[in-house]
Symmetry: C2
Subunit: 442 residues, 2 copies
Amino acid sequence: MKKEFIQPGDSPAGGGGVSGENEQDILAGYMFDILDSLSQYGAGAPGEGITRLLYSPAWLEAQLFLAERMRAAGLEVRFDRVGNLYGRLQGSEPGRPVVAAGSHVDTVKQGGKYDGALGIAASLAAVSYLKECYGVPKRTLEVVSFCEEEGSRFPFAYWGSGSVTGERDLQRYGSIRDGAGVTLQEAMEQAGFGRAEQADPLRRDLGAYLELHIEQGIMLEREGADIGIVETIVGQRRYTAQVTGETNHAGTTPMRMRSDALAGAAEMVVALERMALEEGPPLVATVGRLEVSPNTSNVIPGRVSFSLDIRHESGEKLQGFCGRMSEAFAGLAAARGLKLELQLQLATAPAPMDAGLGGRLERLCSSRGISCRRMVSGAGHDAQLLAAVCPAAMLFVPSRGGISHAPEEYTAPEHLARGTELLAALLRELAYGDNDEQKGER
Amino acid sequence: MKKEFIQPGDSPAGGGGVSGENEQDILAGYMFDILDSLSQYGAGAPGEGITRLLYSPAWLEAQLFLAERMRAAGLEVRFDRVGNLYGRLQGSEPGRPVVAAGSHVDTVKQGGKYDGALGIAASLAAVSYLKECYGVPKRTLEVVSFCEEEGSRFPFAYWGSGSVTGERDLQRYGSIRDGAGVTLQEAMEQAGFGRAEQADPLRRDLGAYLELHIEQGIMLEREGADIGIVETIVGQRRYTAQVTGETNHAGTTPMRMRSDALAGAAEMVVALERMALEEGPPLVATVGRLEVSPNTSNVIPGRVSFSLDIRHESGEKLQGFCGRMSEAFAGLAAARGLKLELQLQLATAPAPMDAGLGGRLERLCSSRGISCRRMVSGAGHDAQLLAAVCPAAMLFVPSRGGISHAPEEYTAPEHLARGTELLAALLRELAYGDNDEQKGER
């Protein structure tokens, strides 16, 4: 069999790769086939991208397609109670914790082909291929297709991985409604999940979680790097700000007698950007949503509501910045006699990825002559939840133009193949390697 | 008969009024009765104000009610082809141009009881009372209830007075649609207008137009003045600005790599306010409407559209300010690499009111001990269109808290009565006075 494939460290010095072209092509071919097939589910008209909202018919068809592919690869297939899908390759040393790899199957509305899907396709391709090449692993390998990560149907995210780690549960989230008034519980049941006899999503047997994902940013492309090794997923705070002034006639109210909520909010938007630039990278601060009331051209706005999204890899710096922001906003509102309400909507701590796994990835890149860089993930991912219960690693491949959450999302085939190769190589080390290589195990 | 009523200049020096309490009360009683009755048409549930959109059933009922009241007062009643309503008291010197007074019968959505309605009620009360007191006038008097001024149903304003002066016509405006897709022509026909045999709205026989209106601003209240005599109705420019940047991920796009349309638009909003404060009164500049795309909390806005409403009594200063604003905005956009499109939506020139009529009003106030101030109207009114074809005058009465276009719109009864008294006094001078008092005639 193809034993020479993805063997680490056996390349001639300076060699451009380890395995024969042929073996890499076979692995990549598996991945492309799954990725392309998966992109049919939820596809809209040309230009409309892919929409697979949690528990929708397109979502269910995608999960059933993946289950079928897992079965065809000889994996044991199961869904848990919330609709997470697993394909399992039982190891020969059953006492040892499971090595899992995957990502999420749901998409944003009119999203792209790669976000989430790549991580599932690459993991299933890799495990299928490892099984063919090396047979039974020492540690059990699992491919996971998490049911939800995006928060695009219900107003919260990480339902899939959060159910696995215990961060999310039905008791708290089951009654939350989507835009059409359907509860999570109802939607889940309509899709065939939520039944008592189905497996509890909570897991305590995981020993590692690996996730390959598109970067969704422009750093790798700008620096010409093939692979990003994530050191930390940023912490995030989301607020809603409400500024209240006084609605008045745009023609008859002199400038000095106004209490203009939009002028005040605009000053806050400008101040936030200036503060973020002063703070410097990796802090980012964004006002993405802003709504004006009554929003009529000849009426001075009496109320403005806007969102705040602040991220940093350091929890302490994130907290410090948000404190200074609150103070600055309060000062701007007071100077204008406006009322300001700032409501914290979400606070996640920064999630460091496992240093041991990161080191392995770096060595695997180096031995293959693949250019990589350590980086911070500004986007949230399932791996940040898994990192709370087992060593976790994330690999990024470049996103063309940094574009994501849009039909134009694109990653070049050679980057997809290189990411899949690295994922497979690390899975092999962890599941087939010698005991002394399992230092990351806990 | 009550000849002593509203006789100018016959008061004892420093006297608090001319006419007996009784006569003033009778005139005010007429006005209150019409105003209160009119407010029943289009009245919503408590707190929802009054809605009489052009050609709606409530609007038609209001016009028919007013026609009935005009008839009952012994006036000749007619509608023109677009639905303007006239009540005419024929003068004894038929060659001389008509003295008209009135306002508009339509309202904004959920508007107040006084905007437009006061001017009609006061004019009808005054002409009825003058007829009772003095019989046939020398010059013909007309009460007018213009069909539309607010621009609340169709996306343009001054349909009533503009049809009278020739500024608006069916050929250009008939095919414009309301929010439900109904054209102006269709709506007009459904209300029973637009028929060829109905009178052409265009008039060339007007010699003066008087309009009593609520201030819709806070100046009179602040200064404790009873009456505002409008010198000029401001010129106005409305623009739509569209700022285009680049939609991007709020987490993965560093601050320095952003092309944030909202941050740019916010800078423009702040700059506009600063420039307007520097320019000083009576310039006002307002961003009342602002829309963000895609308007999602975790996405950097790629596009922002907003409205600009700039007003000044001097056409030259208005133009100069708008030019500097365009330059400033272009500079802000260029500095950020944003695309800016600025589209002029509306440009009206300042409309000076007739100085002779203004002087008469001032003398009438003075002889009655009524406190008045000359002022600029920041809001647009029918009088600004009429001013293009005949001498026009506007009187303002105070608006409590400056609030208008809302159910909370309120003017105290004594102010309503005082405004009506002045209107009647000026109508009497113009229509019943000696020839040598008609210097404003043209």
